[in-house]
Every structure is written in structure tokens, then in C-alpha cells.
Symmetry: D2
Subunit: 363 residues, 4 copies
């Protein structure tokens, strides 16, 4: 099955209510990091703002950020990054009456790949996922050449032999354009590459090795001594696992710190708001996002990722968002955000990635 994008239909701004709508109201941010009290907050949907009589799309949107007019464009700025005096759009309507329009149904659901993605229902362990896997596979084939695929994963992912091999093959075959994760995933994965263990157990057999509980601490210490993951990988001639595959294929890896961390590895962002910035830098160009086995990162990425992207040629397209988690609770936390294009898959991420790799034909 080949994959077709849905058409985007922009609002007809030559018609009412757009023509007689006023310009949106702009007010100066009163302090650094503080918005005017009636600021407008952006959503995951395309939003247009009437400025000097013209309707401008906020192109790189992000839910719960503030629209700021600068250089003739509307930017989505996190409140913490506001500078005193920046021009913030104010108003809390979305129907054009204050010059603000939220366009929630811009993608034609009756065309293109509508059968695959048009409906959304509750997902549970009892849902059938065969078609979702097929959909993801045809989506990934399309996106490899036409989009940007961002994968997000939790730490346990590095523990299983087949999952490591499957994801590495996905990277090698060009189906991964950025990887977002945390200190633990990279630490476990490099422990696997260097010691062939996961938290001190041989990865495949799960047999304990002697003093194996030191392995992840030693790994952290050695990478810190080497100065970077890349230097360590080169120095030790490592080739196996997720991080090695990413480094070898020049896939950017963003590692976010958390209060659970040992170490951390040198590349890890200790400041979580800088980590958010680095995640957003990758997600700004994303067209497909797949999160696996991490509620923390899935929700963080869900907060940052809008439902659409403006491509370099100006075309507006959907962003596809999948979350794989073994817990319905995690799935529901994310899909409750209400994006038409977010879908949950309730299973163990090990199996999910092996299925995807196999159906893609890369393992």
C-alpha cells in the first residue's frame, strides 16, 4: 500500500468572517519571561493571526506557547523565553472575532489516506494492531525520502537483543532522522556495546556477570573520561547497538537529563529547559514522530509537537504521531490531547520495533 498525504485546505480569507475581522491585538511583554495577562496561547492546530489586514499562519507552532510578532512573522515562543517588550498576541477567542483563527479541520479526511488515519477510537490491549503496523510501514517508506522521522525511546529499550538489532537496522536503512531519549537509554546501550551486558546481566542470556552492577557505573566513568560518547566509541572501536548506529549514520541524538540519572554522559542536557529547546529544534522539522516505552518523553514530545508542518515549499502537511506503550494509562495521557493524527499502540516496545523492522524488510 502506498502512502498519500491528505490535502490541506487553508481557510478562505477572502470570505467572512475573515474580511471584516479586526487585526489581532498586540501587547508588549511586561517583563522577561512574563506575558501580558490576557495573552493568547497556541494549540496543536494551525492558527492564523490578522496583522495589518493580512492573515498570517504561525508556522512553527507549539501548544501552550505565546504568539509573538517579530520580523513580520508570528513565532511560537515559550513563556520562559519571552523578552520584555516583545509583541505578544492577546485575546482568547479563536473564531476570528479578535483577529485570531484556529483552523482545526484543515486536512481533508475524505481524501488521501483517509481509511488509515481518519478515525480515532479508544485503544487498549485488546485493540487489533495489524493495520497500524502496516500503516506505519508505508508511512515510514514515504517519510524516509520526503519527511523527517523522529524516534523517542525509554531506557528499557536497550535491554533486548532483537529490539537493539531491529532499531539499529532501522537507523542503518535511513528510517531515523533524529533520536530523542535520556541518559539511561544511552548508558544502558553503551554498556551493551562495551560490556555486552544490561545492568550487569549478559544481554541475551540475562546471566549475571561478576560485579556486573558496576558495569553501568564504569561505563559512565569511562565515557566521561573519554570526553564524549563519540570519542569513547572510536577509542574502544564499538560498533553495536543504538547509539553506535546513530553516530555512524550521523543521526542527531538529543539526550535529556532527569533527576533519576547517574553520571551523566557528557552529551546529556542537565538543564531540562535547554533539553526542551534541543528537542524542539529537532521536532520543528519532524513529519513523523514515534515514541516508545517512555511516558515522560512521550508527553514532553507531545507537548512540543504540533499537528502540522509547513514544508520548505510552503505546503502544509500533517504530522503523524504514534505512541507505543504497554500501559493504557500512558497512551491515554497522550491521546487525550486531542490530535486527530496521534495514535496509541498498546504493547511491549520490544515487540513493536521488531515488527516494524521486519515488515520494513530491514532485518
Amino acid at each position: 500500500m502506498s502512502f498519500t498525504l491528505r490535502e490541506y485546505r487553508a481557510p478562505d480569507f477572502t470570505a467572512q468572517p475573515f474580511v471584516s475581522a479586526p487585526d489581532c491585538r498586540l501587547e508588549a511583554a511586561p517583563q522577561d519571561g512574563v506575558a501580558p495577562f490576557d495573552f493568547h496561547a497556541l494549540s496543536i492546530f494551525p492558527e492564523y493571526f490578522k496583522i495589518d489586514g493580512r492573515w498570517l499562519l504561525c508556522e512553527e507552532s507549539r501548544m501552550d506557547t505565546v504568539p509573538v510578532l517579530e520580523d513580520g512573522k508570528v513565532h511560537a515562543v515559550e513563556a520562559r523565553q519571552l523578552k520584555k517588550g516583545q509583541a505578544v498576541v492577546c485575546g482568547r477567542t479563536e473564531n476570528a472575532e479578535e483577529g485570531i483563527y484556529l483552523h482545526s479541520d484543515g486536512f481533508d479526511e475524505s481524501a488521501g489516506e483517509s481509511d488509515s488515519f481518519a478515525f480515532r477510537i479508544g485503544r487498549s490491549r485488546e485493540t487489533s494492531y495489524s493495520k497500524d503496523i502496516d500503516d506505519i510501514v508505508s508511512l515510514l517508506r514515504y517519510e524516509r525520502d520526503h519527511g523527517k522521522i523522529v524516534w523517542v525511546m525509554g531506557p528499557a529499550f536497550a535491554f533486548d537483543k532483537r529490539a537493539r538489532e531491529s532499531f539499529s537496522a532501522i537507523v542503518e536503512h535511513g528510517y531515523c532522522h533524529a533520536l530523542l531519549s535520556g541518559n539511561a537509554l544511552a548508558t544502558h546501550d553503551l554498556e551493551g556495546a562495551f560490556f555486552h551486558t544490561a545492568l550487569g546481566q549478559t544481554i541475551y542470556t540475562q546471566e549475571n556477570v561478576r560485579n556486573g552492577h558496576y558495569n553501568h557505573l564504569d561505563l559512565l566513568n569511562r565515557v566521561r573520561a573519554a570526553g564524549s560518547m563519540e570519542a569513547f566509541i572510536e577509542q574502544e572501536s564499538l560498533s553495536e547497538g543504538i547509539i553506535c548506529a546513530a553516530v555512524r549514520n550521523h543521526v542527531p541524538v538529543v539526550l535529556c537529563g532527569s533527576i533519576r540519572d547517574d553520571g551523566p554522559l557528557p552529551e546529556v542536557f542537565g538543564n531540562c529547559y535547554e533539553a526542551q529547546n534541543a528537542m524542539r529544534a529537532q521536532l520543528k522539522e519532524a513529519t513523523t514522530v514515534i515514541t516508545m516505552a517512555t511516558m515522560l518523553h512521550s508527553i514532553a514530545v507531545g507537548n512540543i509537537t504540533p499537528s502540522f508542518r509547513v514544508m520548505p515549499d510552503g505546503r502544509v502537511r500533517q504530522i503523524y504521531f504514534y505512541i507505543c506503550d504497554i500501559s493504557e494509562f500512558a497512551i491515554n495521557k497522550l491521546t487525550d490531547r486531542g490530535s486527530l493524527t496521534s495514535k496509541g499502540i498498546v504493547t511491549n516496545a520490544q515487540d513493536f520495533i521488531c515488527n516494524v523492522a521486519r515488515e520494513l524488510g530491514v532485518v
Copy 2:
């Protein structure tokens, strides 16, 4: 990897404490369905009883049943099936002092496939399962020709296209010698075969069909009209799905009723204790049991299945028991029973069966 059974080492009854141990004490059941108050209860392990100076193994054991001497053999009888006057072994020690000996470490863990099965650790969604899948595959290859493989499944299993195809292929290739399940699984599966829907949604696309909520009721009504699943399958020339594969390959199917049932299908045991008897009749010869996506049936089967089987040639071998469930709670409920050979796999059963089928090479 080829599979080797562990050796069984029977106790040395020519040594102490066995030689000087007394005969075990026998008392008559005081009423139908009632045991003497200090009856002995059997476990999942091999247990020997000294009768007339000789130590007899209770060959077809079952946890929490009562050892009854009859025709020179010790039988494991459910309390509800006791007849007044039957000779029940009494005593609550297990170390030979009352002529009762429980042999919990009879299988040589240092030999055979010990690396695969010898250790037992807590299982969770974060455990690595690659080796378990490989172990199951080599086990199934061995058991197809040398043992009896019993599968147990919950109702949601029939909802997914790949899972249906995978399990059907497992049946077709001889890796299933009995199937234990409930009314809902068979109803959903036959709805799939006849209407191509699951609870009114097209199986693959999950699109709702018109009045689809009638489909499972209609299916039940039509099978009841036909008189049996087999008659219905023949009459409607059905060939797809789990039940059809079982019927075509002469695999016995035991369907147990529950208070949640509609219908039921004609073959379903309405009486749950007769259902237990039918399950036990299949499990008496089982050498490998795999339960999937059903806490109720998994625990029921776990209650009935001992840790060993006496083969027709008199050899004692282990029974292998796997439970696949997406919930750690369900896994722990079963593995807490303490069998060395019971292993949990925490994932969606859809993916589990697809993995097993693929690694077996049957899909």
C-alpha cells in the same frame, strides 16, 4: 539450538530416611465430597507415598487435590469428586516421617537445557525476551514430535488479523495438540470467519459495519441453530481462523463457560467443574503449556498442571509452562505458585504469537 530434557533423579528409597519411614496413613472419606480432616494435599511436585513398604509416585498429580489409594495406585482426586469410603492419605509432613515424601528438586539443573530454564527472576515489561522466544521455539520443535503442546487463550486473541493467521499456522504445522479457551474466543473467532468482523468491526480495518453489534449475537444464534460449531463450519464452508484450523486438524478444543457469556455455543461447558474435568483430561498428557491473554484461564490451568509428567515409558520429565500477558499483575499471580519451570512474558499476546510463528518459520 536444539532442546534437551533435564534428567529426573528419583529419590534413593534404599537409603534413609526412606527405609525406616512408616507406611503412610490412610483413612476413609467420611462422606461424598468430604475428606478426613487431616487429609494430605498434593503440590505441583512429584510426591511419593509409602504403601505396604513401597514408595509409590502419584503419577497424575494436581495441586490441592487429595491422594487416594485405589487399585494399588495413588490418584490425585479433587475433593468434590471423593466418594465416601475412599482411602485418603492423611498427614501434613513431606519429609518421609509420615510416609509422605515431596521431591522438589528432582530435575538436574546442572545438565541439559539448564542455561535456558534454570534460573527464575522477576519479570516485567522491561525484561528482555529475545532468549525466551528462542527457547520457546526450540521447545516447540521438540514437543511437536515428543510431547503434547496445550495452548490456552483469552477472547481478544481473535480480534487481530496477524495473530489469527499466526496461530492458525501454528496449528496447521502441528504445534498445537489441544486448545483451551472460553465461549467468547470461539464466538469472536467464528464471527471473524463468517462475518469477517470482530464485535461488528471489520477485522483488519476496524471499520464499523452496519448493525455490526448484532454480528456476535447472530453468530451465536446461527451456530446454535446448526447444532455445533463443526456443523456450522461445514454448512457455511468456513475455513479461516482459529477454530476452523483446530477442527480441520483434529485438535481438541475445550471451551469453558463463564458468567460473562452470551449464547453460549453448543460445545461450551456450562458447568465450570465439568469444564475443569475436561481441561484436566487434556492437561494430564501435556508436556508444554502456553497461556495467552487470560488471567482466569491461566490461573485455572496453573492450578491443574503439575511440574512433571510421567511419560508412557515411565520416564519422568518436566512440564514447561509459559504465560504471556500484558499485565505484570497477571504474570505474578501465576508465577508466585513457585514452579521452577513457569515463566512469564510481559507483552501483548498478538505480538507474542506473531513472533513465535515467525521464528518457527510457519508464516
Copy 3:
């Protein structure tokens, strides 16, 4: 806060489309246990059938059963109980065009206790439940004197000291008019009353007692010897726990068998369809149902319980249905059935019952 019932507004059968609607179509059941192929299936909502020009309500309805005309009334009959030749309503519309009308919005949501019960949202561990507890308490106060309160519980309920005391107090104070459960709950509870243990652990301290794993088997054996729970309670002068409270207060107890059972106790229904009949006999008069810590029984009871009841004086009122479970999956399985009046509470049932008892002022 006092509790007020919502008004029921019957359809106006003197208006269209009711006046010109045809009589519903009746066909004879072709065999025992088999309905005509286009039988109508009932829902949880009030449904009216036009018979000889008059619209009759099926008063004691049950989802997925078949409407049968007998003695001038429409009865809801399980397919398995149909007798050959009975007059079954056929047709699969619900808008009067075939003389069948489903009345899904008969209860005035703008009046009475609408604030408490009118809206329905997804429930999870993160939902706030303070108001639900208060609502349940005012509901129970009303129902004690004006309705019938049916409690349904899973086996683990008998393990906790405070939960046992709380539920016993609820029974003693008249807030329980029937109890539906299984063999395990009653066995564990009577083990507690007789041995002061739960599966061999002292209930409060959870210390293991010697040979305690025999306790539940001994309990079963002794009750079977006594012939009934009531005889055993009297013979042993037991007074503590759930079953004793029910017996002392003449609360009917329906115990349904399952394939997991040991024993069973003499009162347990071994046949699950007879168990369904016994449950339905209790539920026919129920006005409030609360299920706790049992997915199996919760769904079974949900299948049997309609959304309304016709009171002896002919008034139609709502049935209130609460399910308490620690798993969102279990909650969602039940609330997906779509009743406005079913609400899930995600917590450990121990705490739920203690909260209810305390707010009721009975402990």
C-alpha cells in the same frame, strides 16, 4: 446533600411517528434456544414495542436478550432459554418504523441530581474522586429505604482487616440488599472467620502460620462436611466477616463458580448459566449496583443490568452503577458499554469501601 431522582419522561405515543408506526413483527422461535434470524436484541435502555396498536415497555430488560411476547407482556429472554414457538419480536431498527422504539434519553438531565451524574468523562488514577464518594454516600442513604442496593466483589476483598470491618458494618446498617460474588471470596472470608487467616497468613499481621496453606482447603472441607455455610457458621459459632454479616442480616448471597475454584462451597452455582439466572433474579429489583475489584463479575453484572427499573408503583427510575477497580482497563471495559449512569472509580477497593463506610458513619 440529599438525593433526588431524575424524572422519567416517557415518549408521547399520541404523536408521530408512533401513531402511524406499524405493529412490531413477531415470529416463532424455530427451536429451543434459537431465535428467528432477524430477531431484535434488547439494549440497556427502555424499549417499547407496538403490539395490537399499543406501545408496551419491556419492563425487566437485559442487554442482548430477545424480546418475547407472552401473556400480553414483553419479556427479555436469554437466547439459551427460548422455547420453540415463543413469539419473538423481529426487526433491527429502533425508531418506531418497525414498531420498535428505543428511548435513550428518557431521564431529565437538567433536573434532580444532574450536577452529580449528568456528565461523563474518562476516568483514571488521576481523576479526583471526593465528589463521587459523597455522591455514593447520599445515594446509599436514599436507596437503603427506597431502593435495592446490590454489591459485587472480588476475592481479594476478604484479605484486609479494615475492608472486612467496613463492609460488615455496611451490611449491618442496612446498606446491602444482595451480595454477588464467587467461591473464592466466600472461602477466604470464612477462612478469616474460622482460622483468622487469609491464605494462611494472619489477616492483620500477615504472618505465616504453620501449615497455613492448608487453611483454605480445610475450610472448604469443613464447610462441605457441615453441608452449608450457614450450618458451618452456626456449628462453629462464627460471627466475624462478610459472609457472617450477610447471613445474620438475611442478605441474599449469590456465589458463582469459576474454573479457578477449589472446593467449591456447597452454595456455589457450578453451572455459570444458572449462576447468571440467580444473579439476574437479584438484579431485577436492583436500583443501585456497586462492583469492586472484580473484572469478571463486574462485566457479568454489567451485561445483566439495564439502565432503568420499573418500580412496583409503575414509576420508571434510573439504576445507578459504580465500578471500583485499580485498573483503568477494567473500568473502561465496563464504562464503554455506554450507560450514562455507570461510573468508574480507579483505586484499591480496600480503600474505597473504608471511605464509603466512614463517610456513611457506620465505622
Copy 4:
């Protein structure tokens, strides 16, 4: 029931193997943030190091940190905080042979409150928790005057009326000496205090208020404008909820940032390793830790908290650690760390805190 501490029995260093053991080996850290490759890593247990012939206890220990000798004392230093040249204890044995001794059984389990805390078993939703609640209550009564009680909580805690009231009462009555949480908890709680909503729903009734989805963003913006939570609380005369209670009672609050955050509030540590330092500063004096409804913070705190504390008078005592979570998975993640004194309680934290407050008699 009154609470008694267990006695600590230090090793007898006048006996073997301690007398003939060598001094431990010290090596200089080769770089900032890097340990010698055979560094010793600390555990949750008391560990002694032989320095100049004397055995020194590392008093403020932390699992997986590095023992550093400075000013005649052994300090537990996170690898990231090591300074080049610091003297690090090296060696990976724990039995004195390298001058390192881990004392895992120092607390006399046969004395004091042994019945309450001496055994440790698997915990699930089916475990009885009545005694745990009683134990916690007597522990808290003791600790209020003799120890330091640190509470840790996840964000959903602020959503429920009774839970807010119960925890506030616990704070008011002196049972909370530090509070560790994240940006979301404080934001939700202050939204409750200021807007009387939680994510835009009225806290008690859960009714949506108009434009309520702006409330948490507005709250963040207003607190950022005020400059601090304390300034905002004073400026708006807020008095209700968790943060207000903490501020009013001078309870230190550590808020750790995460990549999921909006805002953040001014007090939040954006750098997660600085957050760890701030958490550890509070935990260094902790004697009882209770975590609720947060896997992230529970594990982070578990990583930081040892099993013992050296009191100002030099006495060594146990630290008590409870985790309350609705998910067995979260509980098991923490209790697998192997501390005798860590106990899991599987329920909704709302109910847990209400129970504790009620049994303490503060509500």
C-alpha cells in the same frame, strides 16, 4: 501501638577479619568528574573504610556514589562532582579484605518493632494494607518529634479535594519536614488555590469553567510576574492547598524541573543535577521518606536515600521508606533495590493520604 527503633550493632572492629585487614586503597581522581577506573561504589547500607588503621563509617552515604577521603572523613560524592586529585577509595570487595566493609545486617531484627518491619514480601493490589497504615501512623507520631519526615509527591495529588485537605492537615500538624516534588504539582496546587480549579475544572465538582484550559498557564504567568510562589501567595492572600500549607509552616519545598514542564515556576530547579543536590540536601537528615504517585521522583529519591542515618548524637538508626503507587510496576521498580526497610503500598495516593490523615487524627 508505640514505635521503637531497632538497635544498631556496629561490627566488632577489635575482631577478625577487621584487625588484620589492610587499609583501603586510595587513588586520586584523574580528572574533574572522573573516578579512578576501579573506584568503589557505595550502597544503601553502612560501609566502613579502614584508614590509617581505623575503620571509618561513610556517614552520609548514597548508593552508586564514590567514597572520597577528605578532612579525615569519608564522603559520598557523586561522580559528576568529583574534583581532580580527590582521594577516592578503590576496590570492589566488601568483606574487609581490601579495607572495605559493607554492613548489611546491622539492625537487630529480633528486637524493637520487628513485627512491623522485619519481613518483606511481594506487594500487590491484593495485599492487605491495614497494618501498614497503622505502622505508618505510629512511625509518623514518633518521627514528628524525633526525626525528619520527607514527603515526595506526583502532580495528580493536587487534583482531589480531600487529598489536598488531608495533606495540608498533615503539614499543619507538624508531620512534614520537607516536600519534594515538581513543577506540575506546585502549578496545579496553586491553580487550585487561586482559581479553585485543576486544569480548568472546578476541583470538587469537576465542572469545566469557561476558558479553563488557560488557568494553569495564567497561574504560571502570574507567579512568574510576582517573582516567587511566596510573593504570589502573599499578594493574592492565598491560604488553601499544599504549597500554602508548606509556606505557612516553613516546610522546605524542592521543586525539580522536567522536560514535560510548562512555565516553570520561579523556584523550580531547571538543572536536574542541581535539583538532585537540593533533594539530597533535604534527604541527608531524613529519617522517614514517603513517596506518592510518582515513579520518576520515587526512583530519584530512592537512588539518593540510604538505609540508615547517623543522628547528631552519633547513634545509627534506620531510615523508613514507603512508596505508594497504583501500579505494581512502579512499586517493584523501587523495592527491587533491596532495602529491608522499603515498603510498597498499592493504591490510589488520594486514598492513602486521606487514610493516613484520618488515622493520625488530623482531619
